[in-house]
Every structure is written in structure tokens, then in C-alpha cells.
């Protein structure tokens, strides 16, 4: 109970936030931050229990017939992520209250932020694949709302749409993957699936499952070639960037890979694909980051690199690699969160994020600068910070990787060197030297400093005393990913070993990169130009444009707006399909003994035929409509005589209203002689005769067919005793098959809205 309350309280806040009167006050942010802080405290109390190997669960039946449950489940991995989400969540809410203080729409912003937090907590705590998927999609939607928060900016709208399309497309693939997993494993329960060991890996659908799940995870976690949406999403307000891109949303893909590692991992396909994409992403992200000048873009590309690193580690998949991944996951959330928040603080205090326009901020903004320095040291991976332990663990894991250890080491060292250069460049430009800024820099309010300071302090404290996290936090998380107990011993100083020497090697590379960056800029620019249209970001735009163009063309072709042509196409298609079906079955049996025709039957038939004939021959519409009305009433009479009073009643009413409707829209229609040349008349006549003849054959054939009367008998028998109604037709409509009726009235309502829209459009067109 407590679990679900603390997991889902974000959604309650999201619903309430726009209406809370607290946002005008400075304390509004404090109050709001107390909600995620409470969640964080609750998850903290779970640490000892989970550390002992316990698992906390909560579950409700959702769709029992499909074996789908709404289930929450806390194990080591879920707990680590939940702590990151709620902890940084609290800091980011506190920060946002001050960052957007007095701005209109703060309530709306908070609603999005809390909605996102709730979705993310739900995602990491989900114990059922379908539950996880629902929250997965919710994170895509809420992050779309957050990125597009400043709706008046075209850039923000574009970035939000791009993020939604990329992650949403991945989400679709993921749903397919989950469905296949459900079929193969026979359950959607994540614990059962991961406990199943190699069942999935040995199944014939393993490859499609892997491809679909990876499509979801790679798009979400910005792996090459989907990395481009993440820097684009920097259009969002800074607290959003910090939250989405440090601890949470981009980690969702990595989380999913870690979550499913016991079920899908440790196969050749898994190892090859993940290490390859992770390596490319890591190196690419690091080297693009070197060339950026916008502080947030630097951080965005370094995040891409970090995500590549995590995917690489999960691809290696050994116990060492899993341990390194968990340490780095935590370290990255701490330092990247601190860096983004510090970047926002610099933007707030100086008015720019352009690194070239800034300098010497250490004196004017000492606290922000200190946090930034710790973050940069972490980014570089040298010094008494948790990221250093993470990096050493990475190199250690790469050294012991038996398939392609040398390549993995090379990737880690090269990308590490580039990231070191990024960090050094950032620190050198921002903190040292003469003070430079568009206006006099000032330090930010404490609400905006609490986040970066706390996160930086934790970075250092955990590094100096890794025992705080090793046994209770990292080991259970690693065990959940590896599927078995993992021994975790963390230490800042391992003595002089290979890993340390390799770290020093990447230091040399960093020097080279720093020295060469300026000289190489023209070269890299030329490479970027040459790659031009093939760059994933550009490919995305061209394919989007082409998709729109195709949609427009086929709409112009198919939706031409001529009702009579729609009708002709529909009839012709129906005739062709039914005719093909009949000939394929070798014709139909027609029984030509129909008994005597009663006088009234002949009369009704005569009326219908005469009406139809008159409608065809009519030269003005009033006659045509009246004649068609006669046909309709004739058909209604047929219903009445042959035991379908309900149908007859409805047909009478519909016929009345249709005639009326015709009369009302009369003068809007073109004159009959305008549309009907001899050619079209011949064409229409042929089509009508074909359709009529085919229909007649079908009706006659239906008499000789023996149809299945099970349902008819069932409805007739159960209508009175079970549904308390003697009118079987109505009981079917409102009880037995009421879901159909519900769908139909919704369609009716939508159609009515469409008609209103069309009439309004017309009126605006011709005022």
C-alpha cells in the first residue's frame, strides 16, 4: 500500500498542480518538493530490506483474461533507479520553483514535471511488462510536454515533436517486442521472465524480440543513430534538461536493457549489437561534445557518450561490467544532474550559456563554480569522485572482456580522453581568467544551489567512502541485472595497476585532443559537411518531409471530395470483391421454389420498383427524393411484414429524417443535368445493375445456405431469464453486445462533430 502511494503520488500532484495557489510564493517550490522528498525518504527506508535480498511488491488484477496485472516490484535495480528519480526529482522541483519564479505557467510546468516523475517512477518500479510499457509511453508524452513547455518558440515545438516521434516510434517497436516475449514466456510478469533463464534466448523468436526491444531502448536512450533528438531537446527549460537527461528519461532505455539482461542477455547477438552501438555512440558523443560551444549542448553530447558507455557495459555483460554499469549509472546521475543545474544557474546569473562569452566566474559565483568544478572533474573521470571509481571499473571490465577486450579498452580510453578534454576546456574557459559575462554575474538563490551542491557533495562522499553504497545499493542492483549474486568491492585507490595506467594514457589523448581541437575544427567541419544529408538528424527531417508529401499526394488522389465518385468506387470495389469470392467458391446454389407470392408482397415489391424507376427517370431532385422515400418506406414495410418490427420502426424514422435532410441540403447540390452526361449515366447504370444483380444473387443464395443458428438460439433462450428482456433485438443492443453499441454511439458523436466542423468551415470560406 505504502509502495503504491509513494510510487504514484506524482500523478496526484500533476492533477492538482495547475489549481494549487502556492506558485506565486517563494515557498511554493519548497512545499511541492516535499512530495518527492517524502517518496525519496520512503525508498531510503527500503534500502536495508532490499539489501538483505528482500523484494517488495504490490499488485492488482488489471486484465485477468490476458494475464496482465498492474504490478509494482522493488528489487535492487528498481530501488537504485527509484532513489535517483525521486531524489533528483525533489531537487529539480525545488530548483524549478526558483528558476521559473513569477513566470506564468509555473503551475502547468509543475503539473508536467510531476506527471513525468510519476511516469518514471512507475516505469522503474513496474513488475509487469504491460505496466512498464504504459509508463514508458507516459514518459514519452510527459517529456514531450516538458520540452515544448515554451510553446511560443518554434524551436521548442520542433524539438518536442522530434523527441516524441523518435521515442514514440521506438515505443511501438517495444510493444511488439513485449507481445512476443509474452507469447514465448507465457507471462508478462517480469520476475518470472527474468527467472526463466535461457527460455527466451533459445526460442525461435529471439531475434525479432531482441531487435524490437533494442529499437525501443536505443531510441529512448539516444543511441546512435537515434542520438540526435537528445541535443535537440535542450530547447527545454534547464531544470527539465537536468531531470530528463541526467537521472531519468534517457536512462529508461538503459534501465530496460539492464532489467531484461537476465532474460535476453549473454548471447552472441546481444553482445555484438550492444557493444558495437554502445562504442560508436560513446566515441561519437564524446567527439561531438568537444566542438560544442553552448554549455547545454556540451552536456547533452557528453550525456550521449555516457549512455553509450552504459550500453557498452551491459553488452559486455560480465559481473565486472554489470557492477561497473551500476556504479557509473549512479555516478553519472549525480554529476550530470549537478552539471546541468549548475549550467542553468550560470545562464540565470549571467544571461548566456555560450561558453565563449563567459570567463572567470569563480569569484562572482563561487558555489555554482565549485559544483561545476566537481562535475567537470567527474566528467573527466580523474579525482576523488564516484565517476572515477566508475571509470576504473569500466576499464577493468573491458580488460577482462574475452571477446574483444582490446577494442573495448581502446574505445574506453579514446572516448575517456575526449571527455577529459571537454571537461578541461569547460573548466578552463568558465572558471579561470578574467571575469567575462554579458552582464554582471550574480550567485543564484539557495533553492537553485541546493541541487548542484548536494549532488556534488554526494559524488565526493561516495567516492571517499564507497562502503556507503557498495553493499546496500550497488550489490543488490548488480545482482538484479546479472541474475545472480555479484560481489561488489569498491575503492577509490587500487594502487598502480593496468586500469590506472590506461587512465593516464587517456590523459595523453586528452592533451592531444585539446591541442588539436582548434586545428582540427576545419577538418571535422568538412567531414560533417560531407556526411551532410546522411547524418541521422538530417535523415530524420528529409524522411519526415517526404512522409508528409506522400500523405498529401495520396490524400489529393483519394479524398477528392466528390461524393458520387466515392459511392461509385465503394460499389465497384464491393461488386468486384464479392464476385471474385463467389467465382472462387465455384458459384452459388439457387433454389427456385419460393412458394406462392401473396398479394401484399407483390404490391410492396411493385411500389419499391416503381419508386426506384421514378428516381432514375426524375429530372428534378424533389421528385427523386420523394421517389427514394417511397422505396425506403416500402423496405420498411417488408421488415414489418417479415417479423422485424424494431428494424421497421427505425427504418421508418430514419427514412422520414433522411427525406427532410435531403430537402434541407437541396440547393447546395449541383443541378442534376450538370453532373450527368450520357457517359456518366451509362457508367452509373452499369454499376447499379451489377450491384443490384449481385445483391439479388446473394439474397437468393442466403436462403439455400444453412447458417449456424447457435447464437440465435442462445440469445433467444437467455434473453428473458438472464437479461430480463423479451425483445431480443434490444437486449442484444444494450446488454449482450453493448460494447458494440457503445462504439457505435461514439462513432455517431464523432460524425456529428465532423459535420459541424465542415459546416463551420464552409461558412468561414464564403462569408
Amino acid at each position: 500500500m505504502a509502495l503504491s502511494v509513494f510510487a504514484l503520488c506524482g500523478f496526484a500532484m500533476a492533477l492538482a498542480a495547475p489549481f494549487l495557489p502556492i506558485w506565486r510564493f517563494r515557498a511554493g517550490g519548497w512545499l511541492a518538493a516535499s512530495v518527492p522528498a517524502a517518496s525519496f525518504a520512503y525508498f531510503l527506508t527500503l534500502v536495508p530490506r532490499i539489501g538483505d535480498g528482500e523484494v517488495v511488491t504490490a499488485s492488482w488484477n488489471w486484465i485477468p483474461t490476458l494475464d496482465i496485472a498492474f504490478a509494482l516490484r522493488v528489487d535492487g535495480l528498481a530501488l537504485l533507479m527509484a532513489l535517483l528519480v525521486s531524489g533528483t526529482g525533489a531537487l529539480v522541483v525545488l530548483y524549478s520553483g526558483a528558476y521559473l519564479q513569477g513566470k506564468p505557467g509555473l503551475g502547468r510546468f509543475m503539473a508536467y514535471l510531476f506527471g513525468f516523475m510519476g511516469s518514471m517512477l512507475g516505469l522503474v518500479l513496474a513488475g509487469d511488462l504491460i505496466t512498464l510499457f504504459v509508463f514508458w509511453e507516459l514518459t514519452s508524452i510527459t517529456s514531450f510536454l516538458l520540452i515544448s513547455f515554451e510553446t511560443e518558440k518554434a524551436e521548442a515545438r520542433k524539438a518536442a515533436t522530434q523527441a516524441l516521434l523518435v521515442t514514440g516510434g521506438g515505443g511501438l517497436a517495444l510493444l511488439g517486442g513485449f507481445a512476443l516475449i509474452g507469447i514465448e514466456a507465457g507471462t508478462y510478469d517480469i520476475a518470472e521472465i527474468t527467472a526463466g533463464g535461457g527460455v527466451l534466448a533459445e526460442s525461435s523468436r529471439y531475434l525479432p524480440i531482441l531487435v524490437l526491444v533494442l529499437a525501443g531502448a536505443f531510441t529512448k536512450s539516444a543511441q546512435f543513430p537515434f542520438h540526435f533528438w537528445l541535443p535537440g531537446a535542450m530547447a527545454a527549460p534547464t531544470p527539465v534538461s537536468a531531470y530528463l537527461h541526467s537521472a531519468t528519461m534517457v536512462k529508461a532505455g538503459v534501465y530496460l536493457l539492464a532489467r531484461l539482461h537476465p532474460a535476453l542477455g549473454d548471447t552472441t547477438e546481444w553482445t555484438v549489437v550492444l557493444t558495437a552501438f554502445g562504442s560508436v555512440t560513446m566515441v561519437l558523443g564524446a567527439f561531438i561534445a568537444v566542438h560544442q560551444t553552448d554549455l547545454k549542448l556540451i552536456l547533452a553530447y557528453s550525456t550521449v557518450a555516457a549512455l553509450g558507455l552504459l550500453v557498452l557495459l551491459l553488452g559486455i555483460g560480465t559481473d565486472l561490467a554489470v557492477k561497473a554499469a551500476m556504479v557509473f549509472l549512479l555516478a553519472h546521475a549525480l554529476y550530470k544532474g549537478a552539471l546541468f543545474l549548475a549550467a542553468g544557474s550560470i545562464d540565470h546569473g549571467t544571461g548566456t550559456r555560450e561558453i565563449g562569452a563567459l570567463g572567470g566566474l569563480a569569484r562572482a559565483m563561487p558555489i555554482t563554480s565549485a559544483a561545476l568544478a566537481v562535475g567537470a572533474i567527474s566528467l573527466a573521470g580523474f579525482g576523488p569522485v564516484l565517476a572515477f571509481i566508475g571509470k576504473e571499473a569500466l576499464i577493468e571490465a573491458a580488460l577482462h572482456f574475452d571477446r574483444a577486450g582490446e577494442a573495448a579498452v581502446l574505445v574506453a580510453v579514446v572516448a575517456g580522453g575526449a571527455l577529459f578534454a571537454v571537461a578541461a576546456g569547460m573548466m578552463g574557459r568558465l572558471l579561470i581568467g578574467a571575469e567575462r559575462a554579458p552582464h554582471r554575474p550574480h550567485e543564484s538563490p539557495w533553492e537553485m544551489l541546493a541541487g548542484p551542491v548536494l549532488l556534488s557533495v554526494l559524488s565526493v562522499v561516495f567516492a571517499l567512502a564507497p562502503v556507503l553504497i557498495a553493499g546496500d545499493l550497488v550489490a543488490p542492483a548488480a545482482a538484479a541485472v546479472a541474475g545472480e549474486q555479484v560481489k561488489v568491492n569498491l575503492a577509490l585507490w587500487h594502487g598502480v595497476n593496468t586500469a590506472l595506467l590506461l587512465s593516464l594514457l587517456s590523459l595523453a589523448i586528452a592533451g592531444g585532443v585539446l591541442w588539436g581541437a582548434r586545428r582540427l575544427r576545419p577538418v571535422s567541419a568538412r567531414i560533417a559537411d560531407a556526411a551532410g544529408p546522411l547524418r541521422p538528424g538530417d535523415l530524420y527531417y528529409t524522411s519526415l518531409l517526404n512522409l508528409n508529401r506522400v500523405a498529401r499526394q495520396q490524400t489529393r488522389l483519394l479524398q477528392h471530395g466528390y461524393l458520387r465518385l466515392y459511392l461509385a468506387v465503394t460499389l465497384a470495389t464491393a461488386v468486384a470483391l464479392v464476385f471474385t469470392a463467389i467465382t472462387a467458391r465455384g458459384g452459388v446454389d439457387l433454389d427456385n421454389s419460393y412458394g406462392d407470392v401473396a398479394f401484399y408482397e407483390a404490391t410492396i415489391a411493385g411500389v419499391i420498383i416503381a419508386g426506384a424507376g421514378l428516381a432514375i427517370r426524375a429530372n428534378d431532385r424533389l421528385t427523386a427524393v420523394a421517389a427514394l422515400g417511397a422505396v425506403g418506406f416500402g423496405v420498411a414495410l417488408v421488415y414489418a411484414f417479415f417479423g422485424a418490427p424494431d428494424l421497421a420502426l427505425t427504418q421508418f424514422l430514419i427514412e422520414t429524417l433522411t427525406v427532410l435532410l435531403f430537402v434541407l441540403v437541396f440547393y447546395r447540390l449541383p443541378r442534376l443535368s450538370d453532373v450527368s452526361s450520357v457517359g456518366t449515366r451509362v457508367r452509373d447504370a452499369a454499376l447499379s445493375i451489377a450491384a443490384g444483380a449481385l445483391m439479388t444473387v446473394l439474397v437468393l443464395a442466403s436462403i439455400t445456405q444453412t447458417s449456424d443458428h447457435t447464437l440465435t438460439a442462445y440469445f433467444a433462450e437467455t434473453s428473458k431469464p438472464v437479461a430480463f428482456g423479451r425483445n431480443v433485438v434490444n437486449v442484444i443492443l444494450v446488454d449482450f453486445r453493448s460494447l458494440d453499441t457503445l462504439g457505435e454511439i461514439i462513432v455517431l458523436a464523432v460524425a456529428a462533430l465532423g459535420v459541424v466542423a465542415m459546416l463551420k468551415l464552409r461558412r468561414e470560406d464564403s462569408p
Partner: protein
């Protein structure tokens, strides 16, 4: 349309149609009728009103916009659908209460009637939402 006879007959006819439409809705479960037919008949009553006294008069007689009727109807049908869920059954499960009436037969009222009322309201709303704007356009 300006016809003295129609205008005078309208009040009588429209009321009669409305009463008949409710009757159709009510008895639908046991005899021919139901929410769809009843809704069409009620809509005809208002269309008759509009023919005699103009669409503005019909809108006044209706009191609420047709869209409101559609929304209320969908809401009512959804409510009827969800009553079963609250009771722990799958969606749209029928639930019944038996009312003791002075007459011989005991009266059973259930969620299907509520659902049919929703259908009735949606149909009235949809028909009027299409026909009234068309009449106003002339």
C-alpha cells in the same frame, strides 16, 4: 415554412412525439422500441418544431445545445458501463434492482435501461446537431 395549420398542430404533435419517444425508450426491452428509435422520434419532434417556428425556436425549446446532449448521452452510457466495474465485474455487466410496484408484476430496473437512455440522448443530439445548423444556414 409558414403554415398556420402546422404552427397550431405543432405544439400538440411535438409533445405527443416526445411522450411517444420516451414510451419507446421505456418499453424497448420487452417490445419493439429502444433508445435508438426513441431518440430518432424525439429528434423528429424538435425538427417538426423547427419547421413550424424556425430553428431558433427549436433551440430554445431544447434549452441545451445538441452537443451537450451528445456529451451527456456518452457520459450516461459510460456510467452505465462502469457501474459493473465498480461492483468488480467486467465492464458493461448488467446490474438490476427490483422495485415493488402496486401492480401485479414486479418492476426490474437495470443498467441496460440507463445505457439505452444514453443511446437515446446521443441520437437526439447527433440528429439535431446536423439538422439545426443546416436549417439555420438557409
Amino acid at each position: 415554412m409558414n403554415s398556420l395549420v402546422l404552427r397550431n398542430m405543432m405544439r400538440f404533435l411535438a409533445s405527443l412525439l416526445l411522450v411517444a419517444s420516451v414510451f419507446l425508450l421505456w418499453r424497448g426491452h420487452n417490445e419493439p422500441g429502444g433508445g435508438f428509435a426513441g431518440g430518432l422520434m424525439a429528434a423528429s419532434a424538435f425538427v417538426l418544431h423547427a419547421l413550424a417556428l424556425g430553428p431558433a425556436g427549436a433551440r430554445r425549446a431544447l434549452r441545451v445545445p445538441p452537443l451537450f446532449l451528445i456529451a451527456t448521452g456518452l457520459g450516461t452510457a459510460l456510467l452505465a458501463a462502469l457501474i459493473g466495474v465498480i461492483a468488480g465485474d467486467p465492464i458493461l455487466t448488467g446490474h438490476w434492482v427490483t422495485l415493488d410496484t402496486p401492480g401485479a408484476e414486479r418492476l426490474k430496473v437495470g443498467t441496460p435501461l440507463l445505457f439505452d437512455t444514453g443511446v437515446y440522448l446521443v441520437v437526439v443530439g447527433v440528429v439535431l446537431n446536423i439538422i439545426l445548423p443546416l436549417m439555420e444556414d438557409e
